[in-house]
Symmetry: C2
Subunit: 204 residues, 2 copies
DNA sequence: GCCGTTCCGTCGCTTAGGCAACAAAAGAGC
DNA sequence: GCTCTTTTGTTGCCTAAGCGACGGAACGGC
């Protein structure tokens, strides 16, 4: 019960959450985000509307939850189990963020809807990225780890930097590949804030 | 609320029943009937074992329920909605029974298992057949319908006759086609018990 | 024979989910 | 502006499902 001490969730909870997510995806396939009501979702999921509210505050919260889940799953997939905080991995991380943002941007959805959940999706990514980075930093060997007080700051700065750069890249002309963009960003991060990390040598 | 006045069932009930049936089918695909335990079914269905018993007495009851459901669905499919009690339809009914019994017989399953649920499946078919016939007779125009007291008897006799003949045919050499067998049986029924029906003319 | 294991039914208690009704907000039509 | 309709959150009560535990039946070793 060290790392994954998750209190076993009631199977019913897991199931209805899953049903709601499935229903939402199905509906997204046939109409726009705006045109989907909580009633629709509940009905499609064969779940009572009141039950929906027991799980999510509203359809935005559901969307948010889905985004986070997908993104963390993507990270877990691309950055193999328990990977370490190396320069190569950091670059890969930045690249994944870029690709994800690009995909989101290209994957259309009616412009009206886009305005609705674009910010939602973006903060989801940024925050999950932050969580991921924090965990990464905490797993560094004590000797090379920044003082625990500043771990939070470093993680915050890096997550925003990666996210922000990725966002600008995805919105711009994308002259560089995601790979190149990631490499360039990591260079800035490493040369620009090595002393904040105090692990310049270790990372390289 | 005339014909299908079914008291609306709780969605949860419908759902778990469905889950149990699905799980059971899946398990039947990978191992024999005997080798499947209630625990397995419940686990696969992500349903608590106690919940299983709230729905079915045991795995035999589950099997029974499934058989009935499938057979009635088959009947509904082959004998178009609200079909009338004519000679042609009666023949078709007999034919469907034959085919179903034949399929069940051929569709293997370990011989050990077969002994377990063959009788189960058979009584299921016979009883559902009886139900179907009763409904059919009741829908006859009052003038040509046998006295309501004897409807039950007629339905019982016919269902057993059709079932018994079909069973013998499916177990035997099957020299006739299902179609031919059905025709022959209906001839016997119509010539042999027309006075019981009292509608010899109407049926022909 | 006895023993360990597995599965069976069943029980009491707790919790998630269904339902109906509600007032309030948001749209649509005129 | 004004209605009429739909959707939204929220509530209280009831039921289905989860959980753990229990004694007992069935099976296999040995």
């Amino acid at each position: 019960m060290a790392t994954t001490a998750t209190t076993k969730t009631d199977p019913r909870v897991k199931r209805t959450r899953e049903l709601l997510v499935q229903a939402f995806f199905a509906l997204l396939g046939e109409r726009g985000f705006r045109a989907i009501t909580v009633q629709d979702i509940a009905e499609r999921a064969t779940v009572n509307r009141a039950t929906f509210y027991a799980h999510f505050e509203d359809k935005f919260a559901l969307m948010d939850s889905i985004m986070r889940e997908r993104f963390t799953a993507l990270l877990a997939q691309r950055l193999p189990e328990g990977s370490a905080f190396t320069r190569a991995n950091l670059q890969l991380l930045a690249r994944v963020v870029c690709e994800q943002l690009a995909e989101m941007r290209d994957h259309e959805c009616r412009p009206i809807d886009h305005a609705q959940f674009e910010p939602l999706a973006e903060t989801a990514i940024q925050e999950e990225l932050h969580t991921f980075l924090t965990a990464w930093l905490r797993r560094l060997p004590a000797a090379t780890r920044p003082p625990s007080a500043s771990v939070a700051t470093v993680a915050m700065a890096m997550s925003w930097a990666i996210f922000g750069a990725g966002l600008r890249w995805s919105r711009g002309g994308r002259e560089l590949t995601a790979e190149a963009q990631a490499r360039q960003l990591v260079a800035v991060l490493m040369e620009g804030m090595p002393q904040a990390l105090g692990v310049g040598g270790q990372i390289g």
